[in-house]
């Protein structure tokens, strides 16, 4: 955690990889995680969740990141349309 705080404060080493997610520093002090913009405080929380031993915490963190970078909405929409198509053809059979 301390190392992460150091990374947040320092200016160099602007790219980090934690739990398969890419942390980048952006302009105006924002942290980009997998393309999604977070505040430094949110990034700290996500770092904690991603490095937690609890797998549910890690999944939660991944979902939050996907939500922020737009992946979640794409997955949900694709799954919803797929489910609807499957159900439609299943009941019309």
């Amino acid at each position: 955690m301390e190392e992460f705080d150091v990374w947040l404060k320092t200016r160099f080493a602007d790219r980090l990889r934690i739990g398969g997610h890419r942390f980048e520093k952006a302009a105006r002090g924002e942290i980009m995680i997998d393309g999604g913009a977070f505040t430094k405080e949110e990034a700290r929380l996500l770092f904690q969740m991603l490095t937690s031993r609890n797998p549910l915490e890690r999944i939660n963190a991944a979902i939050i990141i996907w939500d922020r970078n737009g992946t979640l909405v794409k997955i949900v929409v694709a799954l919803a349309i797929l489910a609807l198509i499957l159900v439609y053809f299943w009941v019309r059979r």
Binding site: G36, E42, L45, N60, I63, I64, D67, R68, G70, L72, V73, V76, V77, A80, I81, A83, L84, V87, Y88, W90, V91, R93
Partner: protein, 918 residues
């Protein structure tokens, strides 16, 4: 030069100033003429049906104005309830906005409307949309892509089905019903629930359409993911539609789980829509652990239920074949068979073994074999027309007075197609040709129907043009004069408009008389179909009937209504009514044939309350002449009740699964109307012979008999036992052609170039089944039947031919010719005894005077009708005293029949007739 220039300038100014009006004027003129034409047409129809059928045409056609009420209400759905808003306009605005990105907009590109103008445009747009929707809905009596609404609304108002059963229908997928309960629920499923379903579908469709427009706008314009909410609202609407349609599903053991999957998906879509709206994707997921846990728990729970159900359904599917009875047969197929049989109206079909097929007197049966088929009869009749302006409309089989005839009414064949010929001269036809279906001999129409004279046909088949009668300066063909009331009298401005639209300016503005009598809608099929509402169809095979005074076309009407339940594999089919159209004056009478069913027969009976039941004493003469409609029973290209029964007569699960007892109509066969003799009683029946489906052996599988006359509506299925191995029609023809003796005869008659085989007819004779297949020698306008083949259905090798059915039969069974002669002699004797005379066989008579009245020849059955007429005439001339007719043998093969009369002066006269029968 200057003047010319000014003129040109003025012309162009005029065109520039009034171009809109110049463009609109012809359009307005056409629209006005069209409106007036429609109004005049409707007036004519209203007057015609009121006068000739006692029916309110407008009320019937437009469901007693419900067409307009329903259309007006449903059209409200297209109105945007938000005042001043238009989803379509907003999308257009968005597209314009997109095109302006990256450059400065010009003032012309950004239309700015004041709120008042905006509201005015909105109001005009809503009125336009409503009018458009009203026109579309009222013209089709329903909602595009969804189906008819007005007839269903009308049924609901008439009390068909029950509103209290709608909740029961809604829960059908999770609480299955038994076969009998399903049948009792069908009226509610097709009326009340259908109405709820269709209106809900329409509302959902409108919501989806609006949400789609919003989605486009939000996707293009909003930076946040608002479009996701729109998308999930659309998905939720679609899922709601699927759930509402669940009572129409094909339901097996997995249905409750499928239904639950749909409900969970709906909940998921609603949850996603609410989440998108209140929280939002793309940053909305909270970091607060509790909130996040709640949201994710709900999502997980929904996914878990979804997966569990999917796994259960997959489990069922994996074990399907080893639990087929429990999974499919009991919950679905068994009920489907019951409901389909009810829907097709075949649940009353009696099933008997083929050995129970009725058989009557051998001689009687052979005397009534239908030796002439439709095509041959038509060709035989065509040369009797006798004029160039008439042609045969059709040849129809009819049953009158215990005999079967082919009747061919004529229709107009215009030698000249000019307006006067078509509308003023060729107003009618005057020939109806009749032949005996057994002997092929011509018979007088007056003798067949017992009518005083052959009537002219003003209303018939193929009479497509309106005609004007009693017009000064014009006479109808054959100098005839229309004796009845006209359908409509054109006078005044109506006459002007009518003939103007016909392009007849002379008749429009300077007619020979002010009032012109018109006969309209004269094609009997169209005349009847124009008063039928949705769900009623006409058997196109119309035929003639008579009450002994007048001649009518019998137009048979049946119910053919779509059923939407997955349990009904057939449309709703019932014989509903017969409508009589007088051939002379076009007056119409309807008789209801259908029996009350608590559903559509009841609805249509109430709808056509002017029509009497067929049991009415005024229809007593009609009943014996009626036959079961062929279109309802089914044709090769138009499936009917029998086609449904071919499959749905099976009620054993494993026979069903194996498909071993499914039937099919053999190629080239159809329902044939023949006379069946049963215990010396003759019945007019429709017969359909069937073979096993996809059978290589082409064996006879069953015979369907659909009774007409007094037993109208009775259908019996005679099933052949599998071990019977009887020949089917296809094999029978092959057997006939394969026989060497037959081949010689076929070659002699130039088969197949100059002769052809006719209908394949099955008759039971003496406990066995025989196929009769006539051979016709055909010419352009004449056909003869020199031979008829007979095939023993139980043995393909027993085949024979003869000059008529009797000879062929006796040739087949190997009886001597004497047998045929004996039979003819018996028939002659029966003629006198059946007429109520005492026939005394004597050695000799010694009168004072012997008068030989006639020499008759009766060597083949085709000569019988001639002999019969001569004997009848003889008895009319010399009615026997004390009812005694003497019979004694003459020369070789001759028999004499005589009547002894003692004159006032005591002289004994013997009047006699000689018949050569051997």
């Amino acid at each position: 030069m200057g003047i010319k220039l000014t003129g040109t300038y003025e012309d162009s100014t005029f065109i520039r100033r009034y171009w809109v009006w110049l463009l609109l004027a012809p359009i307005l003129l056409i629209v006005t003429l069209e409106v007036l034409h429609t109004w005049l047409n409707w007036s004519i129809m209203q007057s015609l049906y009121e006068k000739k059928a006692g029916l309110d045409w407008f009320g019937i056609t437009f469901y007693h104005n419900q067409t307009f009420i329903v259309a007006a209400i449903l059209a409200l759905l297209v109105i945007n309830p938000l005042r001043g808003h238009s989803d379509l306009y907003e999308v257009w605005e968005t597209i314009k906005w997109l095109s302006r990105i990256g450059r400065e907009p010009t003032p012309a590109e950004i239309p700015v409307f004041s709120p008042r103008t905006r509201r005015t445009f909105w109001a005009v747009w809503q009125v336009f949309k409503w009018l458009l929707a009203f026109s579309v809905i009222s013209s089709i009596n329903g909602i595009p892509f969804l189906g008819k609404v007005t007839p269903i609304f009308s049924m609901a108002l008439e009390g068909i089905g029950s509103w209290s059963l709608v909740p029961r229908v809604f829960v059908l997928p999770i609480i299955p019903a038994s076969s009998s309960e399903l049948i009792s629920l069908m009226p509610t499923i097709e009326v009340q629930y259908r109405l709820v379903y269709m209106v809900s579908m329409a509302i959902l469709a409108v919501v989806v359409a609006r949400m789609c427009l919003k989605l486009i706008k939000h996707f293009l314009r909003e930076s946040q993911n608002v479009w996701v909410r729109d998308l999930f609202v659309i998905l939720a609407c679609i899922m709601t539609a699927i759930i509402l349609g669940a009572p129409y599903w094909v339901m097996d053991i997995t249905t409750p789980f499928n239904y639950l999957i749909c409900v969970v998906l709906l909940a998921s879509f609603l949850f996603a829509a609410l989440f998108s709206h209140f929280i939002g994707f793309g940053g909305g997921l909270p970091f607060a652990k509790r909130k996040r846990t709640v949201i994710l728990s709900i999502a997980m729970a929904l996914i878990a239920v979804l997966i569990t159900n999917a796994v259960i359904v997959a489990g069922f599917r994996l074990n399907w074949n080893n639990n087929w009875l429990e999974y499919e047969w009991n919950p679905l197929t068994r009920k489907q068979i019951a409901v389909t049989r009810w829907a097709a109206g075949i649940d009353h079909i009696r099933r008997l073994p083929l050995s129970a097929l009725p058989e009557g007197n051998v001689t009687e049966t052979l005397m009534k074999v239908r030796q002439w088929d439709s095509r041959a009869a038509y060709t035989r009749m065509i040369n009797r027309i006798g004029s160039n302006w008439m042609t045969l409309a059709d040849s129809d089989i009819i049953y009158v007075g215990g005999r079967e005839y082919w009747v061919a009414p004529t229709t107009v064949c215009y030698p000249s197609m000019d307006w006067i010929s078509v509308h003023l001269i060729y107003t009618h036809t005057s020939r109806i040709i009749v032949i005996d279906s057994h002997s092929g001999e011509y018979v007088n129409l007056t003798d067949v129907f017992g009518i005083p004279e052959e009537p002219p046909i003003y209303y018939g088949e193929g009479f497509e043009n309106p005609v004007y009668v009693g017009v000064k300066g014009f006479s109808e063909v054959e100098n005839a004069s229309y004796p009845g009331e006209p359908d409509y009298v054109l006078s005044g401005w109506r006459r002007t408009l009518w003939f103007l639209l016909q392009g007849q300016l002379g008749f429009a503005f300077s007619p020979p008389q002010d009032e012109i009598k018109m006969l309209y809608n004269r094609d009997v099929v169209k005349r009847v179909s124009d008063i039928l509402i949705y769900g009623l169809k006409i058997d196109p095979d119309v035929y003639l009937v008579s009450d002994g005074e007048r001649l009518y076309y019998a137009v048979q009407v049946y119910i053919d209504y779509p059923m939407h339940s997955g349990f009904a594999a057939s449309r709703y089919l019932r014989y509903f009514a017969v409508v009589l159209v007088d051939v002379v004056d076009g007056s119409m009478k309807g008789y209801i044939v259908g029996k009350p069913d608590g559903f559509l027969v009841d609805f249509y009976t109430r709808y056509y309350s002017e029509w009497k039941p067929i049991t009415d004493p005024t229809a007593e003469w009609l009943r014996p002449q009626l036959r079961y409609p062929e279109a309802l029973l089914g044709k090769p290209d138009q499936p009917g009740q029998l086609d449904v029964d071919f499959m749905f007569h099976v009620d054993d699960p494993f026979t069903w699964r194996s498909g071993s007892k499914f039937y099919e109509r053999p190629p080239g066969t159809e329902v044939l109307y023949v006379l069946f003799v049963e215990n010396n009683q003759t019945h007019f029946v429709g017969i359909q012979v069937v073979e096993y489906k996809m059978s290589e052996s082409k064996n006879l599988a069953a015979v369907y008999l659909a009774y007409g006359g007094e037993r109208l509506g009775e259908i019996v299925l005679y099933e052949a036992p599998p071990e019977a191995q009887l020949l089917g029609p296809t094999s029978a023809v092959e057997s006939l052609k394969a026989n060497q003796e037959v081949q010689v005869k076929l070659n002699l008659y130039g088969y197949p170039e100059t002769s052809s085989l006719g209908n394949i007819l099955l008759y039971p004779i003496g406990g066995k089944l025989y196929y009769f297949i006539p051979l016709y020698v055909k010419g352009a306008v004449m056909v003869t039947m020199p031979q008829i083949g007979i095939v023993d259905a139980s043995s393909g090798s027993l085949v024979a031919m003869g000059s008529d059915a009797s000879e062929a039969y006796y040739n087949l069974i190997g009886a001597t010719v004497e047998t045929g002669a004996q039979r003819r002699l018996e028939r002659l004797k029966t003629f006198f005894t059946e007429a109520g005379y005492d026939l005394l066989e004597v050695w000799a008579i010694h009168p004072d005077v012997e008068v030989l009245e006639e020499n008759l020849t009766y060597l083949s059955e085709s000569q019988w009708s001639e002999v019969e007429s001569a004997l009848e005439a003889f008895l009319e001339r010399h009615p026997p005293e004390n009812g005694k007719v003497f019979m004694w043998s003459g020369e070789e093969g001759n028999v004499n029949f005589g009547v002894l009369t003692v004159e006032s002066n005591g002289v004994k006269y013997l009047y006699f007739i000689t018949v050569k029968y051997r």
